[in-house]
Symmetry: C2
Subunit: 340 residues, 2 copies
């Protein structure tokens, strides 16, 4: 059922006020602050109707109204007036990114830092693996008798966190030989393609099969989100918000947010095309701490997903600000990473 224009307006004012003050909103304060042309009694009737429809709740009979999760959803999708960032804030974002634009890892760390800084909420981010990412070159670096570091240069980054075990008696030339064969097989191909060719390589790859299997395993690891791909900033910001005056809630929040694996699952489900995505903990999304809200945006450059970034905080969140920050950071980030 579509709400009347007046109901929408009133609901918007309730959410605005509640987000600002954290105090249940009364009919009187609404007429005084936003609606001088109608009486508080009329507003009371409307509030009562909105409560009936599930948009508002009351803590007790004589308290003001508090928005429900349903109300926040409508607010974000329909009612909210989009906020603009100040020049100062925009400059801040640009300055941060321009310094270290060429290192993807740095960019990602800075992204969460900026988001957390500007919104004053905890921010989370994860680099999306890209199964279509193509390999430029693979290099082995043997640094112990039986261990070699695998360096993989792809279109967008340098992967250098995987090791393979090498037979101790393997000569240096053999390792180079293996490297050459591997490069012949892999260069220009995507992770996905390489993982699929594993069967028909016996002839060419003869003696080095175990190495190939190891490298494919390393690639497979890079294809899924790793804990090291998850970035967190401002975990303590939550304490500044009155919604978390209760230790139990803080604990609930921190027990999720301090664990990278949990944050990973939190961010993993997010779709490809959706730009701004709001999930509210109370209904349906089990991964999100109770009474929390997760607002995320997925950024892409040159048609490839870069990563998902967002803010996690109280349901009573400053969505105007958060959405504005996420959109602007996205724009600037994408423009820097596209066609560079």
């Amino acid at each position: 059922m579509e709400l009347s224009e007046r109901k929408k307006k009133i609901l918007q004012c309730v959410v605005d006020d509640y987000i600002e003050t954290a105090v249940p909103v009364s009919s009187k304060s609404l007429t005084e602050r936003h609606l001088p042309n109608i009486s508080s009694a009329t507003v009371r009737n409307e509030l009562s109707a909105l409560e009936e429809l599930g948009y508002l709740t009351q803590l007790h009979t004589s308290s003001g109204r508090v928005p429900s999760a349903q109300a926040y959803k409508l607010y974000v999708s329909d009612l909210m007036v989009k906020d603009k960032l100040t020049e100062k804030e925009l400059d801040y974002i640009k300055k941060i990114f321009l310094d270290k634009a060429d290192n993807l890892e740095e960019v990602i760390k800075n992204t969460t830092k900026v988001i957390s800084e500007l919104t004053s909420y905890t921010s989370v981010g994860v680099v999306s693996p890209d199964v279509g990412e193509k390999i430029n070159v693979i290099k082995f670096f043997r640094y112990k008798k039986d261990t070699a570091l695998v360096l993989i240069v792809t279109e967008r980054r340098l992967l250098k966190d995987n090791y393979i075990t090498v037979p101790e008696n393997m000569e240096e030339e053999q390792l180079i030989e293996a490297e050459n064969v591997l490069n012949r097989l892999c260069v220009g191909k995507s992770f996905e393609e390489i993982c699929n060719i594993k069967d028909d390589i016996n002839d060419e790859f003869s003696g080095y099969k175990s190495i190939f299997v190891n490298v494919v395993e390393a690639l497979r690891v890079y294809m899924t989100v790793q804990e090291s791909d998850v970035v967190l900033e401002g975990q303590d910001k939550i304490l500044d918000h009155p919604d978390y005056a209760d230790i139990g809630k803080i604990k609930n929040f921190l027990s999720v947010v301090t664990k990278k694996d949990k944050v990973m699952t939190l961010l993993s489900g997010d779709g490809k095309d959706i730009k701004i995505n709001v999930k509210i903990g109370t209904d349906g999304y089990e991964e999100i701490p109770e009474d929390c809200s997760l607002v995320t945006a997925t950024y892409s450059a040159n048609g490839t997903k870069i990563g998902t970034y967002g803010v996690i905080g109280p349901i009573r969140m400053d969505y105007q600000k958060v959405v504005a920050v996420l959109e602007n950071v996205g724009k600037i980030l994408e423009s820097i990473l596209t066609n560079r």
Copy 2:
């Protein structure tokens, strides 16, 4: 002034009880729980004397006694009965380390994890840089026109997080040449030695001076503690302790503990030979959050400092358990890392 045996015994009981219950300790409960042979009136006299001497405080005239920082110090150094870990706990420690004993980074992460798990406090750790660490080999890996990754293999680890800028017009052979010269200069030398030879290399190193300077800079970075060398575990554990029922205190704690640079300075001052080191926030140590206690141990293997690990938590900490865990983890860790 030396305390009488009975005073020591009573003080020990007070601290034991207070650590266990978090409730101010009364004369009556002391006689009931630990001292059946003396009357509560006698204990009261002794408590009063101990208060006079600065070991105990009273929140108000009719409350029980609470240990002062001074009392905790004496408790840890003299009074405390050393705790033993259970077989189960010891097995747990061994199992964790045996899995990944050959990767120093993994070992360090696991160390803090184990400590936090077993003590149920937040644990912190930092890998000590070792200025005497000798270099086995240096390798450049050029992966972009103007950027090369610097790989440095030392006696104990593989450093792979530094990049140098290479002149775009530099040929591959020239880079290899530079690598050779650099190895001739550096292999077998310690970080410290290399940083000191920078002046008289002009003749041999001719054209590659900027590269050498870059590499030395990279070494200098490795010689100081890096943020990436700091590990943290169980930041949310603090919330389980009643001492942190107050949001202000939690904030205070987290604002230090979530920031790696702050933890770094916290752990940096610790000496070389001291095994177990207890610092209490209320007096003197400004870096430690107020009302917090930091217990650390420094581990070594083959005569070199591996790192400093410890626990940060409330002053009312279970020192018996914490010291036992730190000592045992240290023993096992050192035995694994020595002469491998």
